[in-house]
């Protein structure tokens, strides 16, 4: 019973998703003010031919700091988990 209900809900969601996607045309977004600004002025303002890098490292650099910090934290977490195996340092119990 639960599987049937779950299947029906999933199907309804899928149909809604497709019905919302289909009327949109490719290449003509509804709102493109931000994109137009980046494409028009990105090269002159940042000097980057690669617009993605200009956005990631210049316009939204703060976001990239977060990404780098997430990577740093992940490596520290893995290091804490595997410290016992690497180099034989014992974890001190307190």
């Amino acid at each position: 019973m639960r599987k049937i209900v779950a299947g029906l809900i999933l199907g309804a969601l899928l149909i809604t998703f497709v019905a919302m996607i289909l009327p949109l045309e490719f290449g003509s977004p509804r709102m493109s003010d931000m994109d137009d600004y980046f494409i028009r002025y990105g090269q002159e303002q940042t000097g980057n031919n690669n617009e993605c890098t200009a956005i990631v490292f210049d316009y939204r650099g703060f976001d990239t700091i977060g990404e780098s910090t997430v990577l740093f934290t992940a490596v520290i977490g893995v290091g804490i988990m595997f410290r016992r195996f690497f180099g034989g340092e014992e974890v001190e119990d307190e």
Partner: protein, 159 residues
């Protein structure tokens, strides 16, 4: 691994490193950037680990060096952004773009062949992030692999 694999890894390792550095250095012109290039370089480290095994590789590649690379990369990234305060600009302002000098050749709107000496602070940040991702991912690979080494064996070796 066998001699063939080691020979292939010997040839491929510098190629992978150079390709990764190319992706990092050209991040502001062609697709790619610091994260992607650093991941490619870390793949080179994984290749050497596959070819030569964990024991031998840990004698060449130390934990401290990779950790230092990671820390230097992150601090260099944040430091490059902080330098903008010296010029009286907001955080992350691109103070080098279009000024002439280092990475400062002006770029006009529209398609152009592209020059390496453009981009302002973006190439510096690409290098910093590339170094960070290199150290970080290689460190994760080494750490995860160290869990596969039999524990008793490893303790005997360490003592």
């Amino acid at each position: 691994m066998s001699k063939l694999v080691r020979f292939a890894a010997d040839i491929l390792y510098p190629v992978v490193l150079i390709f990764g550095l190319y992706i990092v250095a050209h991040g502001h012109i062609t697709p790619g950037g610091g994260f992607q290039g650093g991941a490619v370089i870390a793949t080179g480290v994984a290749l050497v680990i596959v070819a030569y095994g964990y024991r031998e590789v840990t004698q060449w590649i130390g934990k401290g060096g990779l950790m230092a690379r990671e820390v230097v990369g992150l601090l260099g990234f944040i430091g490059t952004a902080l330098v903008a305060f010296i010029f009286g600009m907001p955080f992350f302002y691109n103070y080098l773009a279009g000024q002439g000098g280092l990475f400062g050749v002006p770029v006009t709107y529209g398609p152009n062949p592209g020059e390496l000496n453009t981009g302002g602070t973006v190439p510096l940040m690409n290098f910093a992030v590339g170094i960070e991702v290199w150290g970080g991912l290689a460190l994760v690979i080494l750490y995860l692999l160290s869990g596969l080494v039999p524990h008793d064996d490893h303790e005997k070796e360490g003592s």
